[in-house]
Amino acid sequence: MPTDVTTVEVDPVAAADKAEPTFAEKFWKVFRGHPAALAGLIGITVFVLLAIFAPLIAPQDPYDQTQLDILDGLLPPGSQLWDGTPSLLGTDALGRDILSAVLYGLRISLFVALVAVIVGSAIGVFMGLLAAMKGGWVETVIMRTVDLKMSFPGILLALMVLAIFGTGIDKVIIALIIGAWASEARLVRAVALSELKKEYVDAARLAGLSDWRIMGRFLFPNSISPVLVVLPMSISGAIGAEATLSFLGVGVPITEPSLGLLIANGNDYILSGKWWISIFPGLVLVAMVLCINVVADRLRDHANPYLRGKD
């Protein structure tokens, strides 16, 4: 059957009226049919809520030395403290309730990781954009610094920073920021350089727009997605790194234990069979990192054009 040309041609009005998907629709598209990723997302939400409301949930304030009693030391899970408080997950050598310590430790671990990754990524994105946009010596200085940082494994760099500046939550955050910004800068610069070659940037130049405007309104929104995709991975990486540093005894102070430090505390008692001190903080740590990584994997697969629509 002969088709009439004018009606079959895609009507521009109809094409343009195809509604822009809302955020909820896009979100659902990423996670639909991926129960593991969805479960991870729910897990993250639960962990974040637990961390925020830790003081309301925890049976004991583990930082308050006056609440601790050495007589409650090394109780197995399911015991009762001297004052009658149930201790679901047991206590450590100081008589600290493990459940409470884990909830507070979660708080510290999440806080440190979030601050470090957000600040580190922001610095990295800015440096990457600046290097791509300005070129010349600005780019050389930034990228050589990145190379210097990248030629050295993050854990050693962090050890070095902490060895120099001493320990403490703020120091750990600084060490993690120093570890985080460089890879983001490299990533953003690479994307921004390929965006810079695109014709819409030429059009912006022909319009007489300044470098800063081109950077802010043209390069930034178009170069940011790869960073957003790796962001969850960076966060889980930072949680792990903080725990490692604390485990090695160069991280957060003993008075405000993070999950890593709690594990380190319990490590000495493992050979004597007091497994709960080390295992419960470890399980929470792994569960949280796993939840984040499952979601991160999904985001990354979704962003990968080779896999899109294939799964």
């Binding site: 088709t3 059009a203 319009a207």
Partner: protein
């Protein structure tokens, strides 16, 4: 000898989409191919042409579903075969030629490895016999120094040479059929001609049939015996090539033929339907655009005058590479007069776009040049306001519709963001203007709210035009604005540009590799080759009866779409084609000379 080889019956291939709908790439399509026949499958993008070739070889994507019908090869239904049964068909009975030879060959294996593995898989030749046969095949495919090529990697050879190597692989087992999927789309026109010559010669020797999948009606006109026209997966029309090209019976085929730019005569408008926006909005837009163009320049004075323009790109020494200089443009001078369209044609790497980008100020020319615009040397522009006014007065319509709009801004913001950022317009004025301009270029004003990805390629180019116009420019550089578009969309866009130029008195510099498009759009033309202008003059002269051998060579190599002459098989039998190709992508001067000499014989 008209024994039937391929029979496609009622074929429907569907892809389930993410949103639960089903996309039919091919819809109830039937075709026949006889032994030794060259059959064209033509259509614009999204017509489903490539799917037919892939179905024949069992190379469809995993999620493709064959709903109805199938493809038979010598009465065996191949679309029903299991993966392992294709071993006897792929390479052996059906050869395949890919669109882009540079990606079809594995970048990390040598040419020799890739040919010999095909020979060993499909013939009984092994070891040194296979090697000798590989050299023989390369010789037949007219690859110079075949022995040396075996140890080379694909990136060390030109695109044309790679395609000849793909040919050699495809014919290695003397198949019954070759499926050629856009075999020359990635190549320059002079290379295309020589490569197609070779393909036809190789297949004629062995009586191999070809299914030629292409969007290029010129190539179809020159090569095919019979043609199928597809659109959106459906068969529109079929018939002997001459009949379909000359007297298409269906409206779509008629439109398709009318949209093809012709090299032999100039038309005012292409006979394709093209929507215009609301009259009052268009008028408002035109009033706005005309409100500044009082001093477009005196009659007889050039608007733009360019002298001694050169550009050397030097790559800095890096950790991986030593520095090197590449002269993209050398010593180009020309004038452009108000209201005219000046064309620049040339093959890839000729420096034609670089000339335009230097005029716009996107590249800085080598010292010693002079660019005069509206009677003032642009070096004399000192104040910030003057520079900005100059910059905005020269605009550009870009080549790639998919990268020329900021994907993170609405269509309307893409058009008027800069005017708002400079404080020229307020929010409300900007919104009105972008709507009016959308209507002017034939898009509904309501769609200004949409993001770029909601538009088709042709629509995006229209938005790009609206953006360029928003600055009320006098001069627009058109950088291959239609090369990424389908031919009917191209015709609509070229019509729009002609209309706008007539109404607004714009001056255009139009760059293209397509001589026919230049013929349709331009008053005068420069022909560039390797950074130099080889010939310049009125289109009616240069593109009809050129003086320079290079231009003659280009014209001769161009596949002709000449329905009134009927089907012209390529006159390759008269041409002893020994088209030489060197490492560089462009034909050397001697190549072009030899081509033009041949064509004059």
């Amino acid at each position: 000898m008209t024994e039937q080889l391929i029979q496609v019956d009622d074929l429907t291939i569907a892809y389930p989409m993410a949103d639960g709908e089903v996309f039919r790439a091919i819809d109830k399509f039937s075709m026949r191919v006889n032994r030794g026949q060259i059959v064209g499958v033509v259509g614009e993008s999204g017509a489903g042409k490539s799917t037919i070739g892939k179905a024949t070889l069992g190379l469809l994507d995993e999620n493709a579903v064959i709903d109805t019908g199938g493809v038979s090869l010598d009465n065996v239904m191949v679309t029903k075969l299991e993966e392992h049964a294709f071993a006897n068909i792929r390479g052996n009975r059906v050869g395949y030629i890919y669109q882009n030879p540079m990606t079809a060959l594995n970048p990390v294996l040598t040419i020799g490895e890739q040919i010999i593995e095909a020979i060993e898989a499909n013939t009984d030749k092994r070891g040194s016999a296979a090697r000798a046969y590989a050299i023989e095949l390369l010789r037949q495919a007219e690859v110079p120094q075949p022995e040396d090529r075996l140890s080379k990697y694909p990136h060390q050879l030109s695109g044309g040479l790679c395609q000849r190597i793909v040919f050699a692989i495809a014919i290695s087992a003397k198949p019954d059929l070759i499926i050629a999927d856009e075999p020359t789309t990635a190549l320059d026109v002079t290379v295309q001609k020589a490569v197609l010559d070779t393909l036809v010669k190789l297949t004629r020797q062995e009586n191999i049939a070809i299914i030629l999948i292409t969007h290029d009606m010129g190539v179809v006109a020159e090569m095919c015996d019979y043609v199928y026209v597809l659109r959106h997966g459906k068969l529109v029309e079929e018939g002997p090539t001459a009949q379909v090209l000359k007297e298409p019976t269906q409206p779509y085929s008629r439109e398709l033929m009318a949209a093809i730019p012709r090299i032999d005569h100039k038309v005012d408008r292409f006979a394709v339907p093209g929507g215009l926006g609301k009259a009052e909005d268009r008028k408002r837009a035109i009033d706005y655009l005309m409100s500044r163009r009082a001093d477009a320049g005196k009659e007889g004075e050039p608007l733009l005058s360019v002298r001694n323009l050169s550009k050397t790109f030097s790559s800095k020494a890096t950790a991986l590479k030593a520095s090197s200089d590449f002269k993209a443009v050398s010593d180009v001078s020309f004038d452009v007069f108000p209201g005219e369209t000046m064309g620049i044609v040339g093959e890839s790497g000729s420096g034609k776009s670089t000339v335009g980008r230097m005029i716009l100020g996107l590249h800085t020319p080598d010292p010693g040049y002079e660019i005069t615009y509206r009677g003032r040397n642009i070096i004399d522009l000192k104040s910030k306001a003057e520079k900005l006014a100059h910059r905005q007065s020269l605009q550009c319509i870009f080549q790639d519709p998919y990268s020329s709009l900021n994907p993170r801004m609405t269509a309307g913001d893409n058009i008027t963001y800069a005017l708002r950022a400079h404080g020229t317009l307020g929010r409300e004025e900007a919104r009105k203007l972008s709507g009016d301009l959308m209507e002017l270029v034939g898009l509904p004003r309501a769609s200004a709210r949409k993001m770029p990805h909601a538009f088709s390629g042709g629509e995006r180019q229209r938005i790009g035009i609206a953006r360029a116009l928003s600055f009320r420019p006098d001069f627009i550089f058109c950088d291959e604005p239609t090369s990424a578009l389908d031919v009917t969309v191209q015709a609509e866009l070229l019509n729009l540009m002609k209309d706008l130029q007539d109404q607004l008195g714009l001056t255009l510099l139009f760059v293209s590799h397509d001589l026919a498009v230049v013929r349709q759009m331009c008053d005068r033309v420069m022909v560039m080759k390797a950074g130099e202008v080889v010939e310049a003059g009125a289109c009616d002269k240069v593109l009809v009866d050129p003086d320079h051998p290079y231009t003659q060579g280009l014209l001769a190599a161009m596949p002709r779409f000449r329905p009134e002459v009927g089907h012209l098989a390529m006159n390759l039998r008269q041409i002893p084609s020994v088209h030489k190709e060197t490492q560089c992508r462009n034909p050397t001067a001697s190549d072009v000379l030899s081509i033009s000499r041949r064509s004059r014989q």
